[in-house]
Symmetry: C2
Subunit: 552 residues, 2 copies
Amino acid sequence: MKARKAGRSDNAREATGNDAEMGEGCPLHWFDADLGAFDDLERRVAEHPADFFAGQDFDPVGACATREASFASVQIPEDPTAPQQHADHLLNDVFRHVMPVASPTFVGHMTSSLPSFMPSLAKIVAALNQNVVKLETSGALTGLERQVIGMLHHLVFARDDAFYAQWLHNAEHSLGAFCSGGTTANLTALWASRNNTLRARDGFAGINQAGLVAALRHYGYAGLAIVVSERGHYSLRKAADILGIGRENLVPVGVDEDGRMRVDLLRDTLRDLQQRNIRTVAIVGIAGTTETGAVDPLDAIADVAQEIGCHFHVDAAWGGATLLSARERARFAGIERADSVVIDAHKQFYVPMGAGMVLFRDPAWTQDIIQHANYIVRKGSVDLGRHTLEGSRGSAAVMLYANLHLLGRKGLAKLIDTGIDNAKYFASLIEQQPDFELDSRPQLCILTYRYVPAPVRAALLSASPEQREQLLEALDALTINIQEMQRDAGRSFVSRTQLTSSQWGGRPIAVFRVVLANPDTTHEILQSLLEEQRGLAKQSPMLPALMAMVGG
Amino acid sequence: MKARKAGRSDNAREATGNDAEMGEGCPLHWFDADLGAFDDLERRVAEHPADFFAGQDFDPVGACATREASFASVQIPEDPTAPQQHADHLLNDVFRHVMPVASPTFVGHMTSSLPSFMPSLAKIVAALNQNVVKLETSGALTGLERQVIGMLHHLVFARDDAFYAQWLHNAEHSLGAFCSGGTTANLTALWASRNNTLRARDGFAGINQAGLVAALRHYGYAGLAIVVSERGHYSLRKAADILGIGRENLVPVGVDEDGRMRVDLLRDTLRDLQQRNIRTVAIVGIAGTTETGAVDPLDAIADVAQEIGCHFHVDAAWGGATLLSARERARFAGIERADSVVIDAHKQFYVPMGAGMVLFRDPAWTQDIIQHANYIVRKGSVDLGRHTLEGSRGSAAVMLYANLHLLGRKGLAKLIDTGIDNAKYFASLIEQQPDFELDSRPQLCILTYRYVPAPVRAALLSASPEQREQLLEALDALTINIQEMQRDAGRSFVSRTQLTSSQWGGRPIAVFRVVLANPDTTHEILQSLLEEQRGLAKQSPMLPALMAMVGG
């Protein structure tokens, strides 16, 4: 049976017979229009993004200067704008002033290049406009999404064939969910953790029904906490706030020199919480911190979680794809013991923005967050929306499905290995320079460093506490200045962050941060990056003051 | 200054010098590949979705039958699949089995047809892969998003020029946010409401920092509640759960015959909560219920909220776009008095999935949910991520920006008016039939009805309570059966829901639900829809039993 072909828009006009409010160029024709202007725009911008970014008129820096002036009006235009005119505006005032995240010299952020078939798939997904909340509005994409979640679940937890035969397409259970990003994925995991911890029992309806106060009263706890290393992503603080736990009760645990959670301190923290009758809802391990890519000792954390009977969540939003690499996956030993794991497909699985995932080892894990409604996500249905924080949403799963097939496990592993190799190369290059300092050694493809002239390095070793603080302040100012000059020059980009360093007694220092996820970033580019920064340092107004301190 | 052009992928291989794990056809070439197979797929599926849905091989019903078999493996393939092979698979096993939501005969859901330039824009957005969490990864799209939020804010709240000049691009404030959907938008609004209600004061750090239990202790409340009509969307229950308030404490208020919140009952509810020392965090008005499109008496609710000093939130996820229509916007009088309003752009603003919005009348409203982090969303920056529930996300705003310009206010208004006109026409058509019953009169473009043979109608009027219950049960079964037969036939689609009706003493009845948002849905299509349902009713195994009860 076939769906009826769309009528032309004059049907709609005929149906209403009232064009009184419309001026010239009734826009209903846009539902079936000739698209010359947009075909052209699409070809220029989307066919080869890297070429577009390298083009003569591309100007990311212009964005800031023109931002407020270009986007000032709050009046919705009364009449339709001519297509060619709007396409030109989008090209000249918007797309030419975005950031060239796909450029191999822009190594400051987690978004990089995408496989070249991806924009085509995104176009198809938009054209079909399916809503995966429900089988009725997504058809085969519901089954596909369950399969993709199953593939990721298998990658992390490697349960046996019987397990997946039983649970993969089971309507009443879910092995995980796609989310709009890592933040909603972490929130979903911690929501499930909180609700499982304080679930219905002995006549108590459960925290999901009765709320947090009633739950604590029933269970007899004084409060709730989430425990994570001090390098935890800020989305965890947000989750603690939203869930009613409070940001103060996201308890940070100190890290070792490599930025990994110290398990001895974790035990101290948990003991302290227990003595204060505060129930730990989840211990969160990080598999790839945002700032330095550090991987927590997951197996040891899993031991602790098991001992005290607490949920173990792993935030692998950035690092999770490392599991694809036969060479690197041992770093993640213990992740298979987690209750929940978050992985972002729009990071190292190389799909466009908007594809977070939460995975649950136990398919019953979503029982305390499940919902239904009469008009949608009915009880007993396979509808994906029953187990998700979000409601209506598009199919991000099909993008990941394509990458898993078109690149294969080996192809994706090659990308992971390439990034880590590039980070190791760049770390050794930095260590060979007399005037750069490596601040975090790469575990994955992220590292941090800064520019420190040799005389300053020497002076820091022998400085008094007061002198040292002055030098560190001047170094911070120089680091920030170099990063901003490099950004404003627009040839390349590194990000920056603040790291607390045991070397400086826990004082936070400003550092450059690079993420080497783009397979087109070459050794030559990395060499040029340091050369450019060295040149910028010499132009920086912050340098003379610093050198004067060390008599230079 | 220019970003450096992408190197070719052999650079990456050269950089690593290690292809040991890769078999034939190193997939890094996918980062710069010839795309013949995907160009072709894109042309067939995305160029004219309505034609694709009307094509010979399109088969939505096949989705269910093949779902589990087609998507059964949890093994990520080791080696890359050939592009043509995967493109063929996607076409034949996935895209041919989705739901034809853009078909004018599929009037059961809120997703319908999109303007024809939209897929091109989606392709461009994916190719540029900007992350609007931060200016550094989105450039001009940050300013554009603030403008679009400002346009919607002006549409709802119509503050004066000085207001927007001061706040539109103010880094420390936000007039609202894009969200992945209406669920996260409602959650954001209620999160802000909860945190504002229990904010920092007198040495108390605020609920965001200290958590819900400490907040209630400090403020001296016994609990929290959210009050909404019994027709509230299930996302509000979810929000009450996530926020620690509890689903039981989302308190439903009864509705009048038109499905609108009864303000007298609202007052009773609030009085009761106050007597129990339960603080109402927000009163939620619905401007377009999901089930019948009913619009609550917003102005009267605003009066009540003002009297008791309570936040007023309006869920206009579906209906908000009605404000564009000069003819219809009076229905929403009072919405400008709300503290927060949610509108989904992927509904009646006709952009693809994933574009919810929350708007705040007062730009300081986000102060209690704001966040920052060293490596991202720095204090003082214009970064959009500081005020949003979500973190990294793509630019949905550019889609809405295009519709606001290419269709203009008048063009979008025409779509709204067309939908409402179609709904009125369909309602009158139903009322003319001897064997159909209109169950909710359209306020917007949604209505509900069911098939009730004339003898059954007559019998219901004179039936004893027991007979009546038997008849209503048989009618429910018939309604469900007709809806499923129509869905399975695949020519057209209406959804169904359950409505409590004062006519039947609050007993829920099963009804068909149509949403007439597709401007290509003609009067002729609506006539055929009833004809088809009448025909299906006569084939239904449920009909003879029903007719036997009335001696037919």
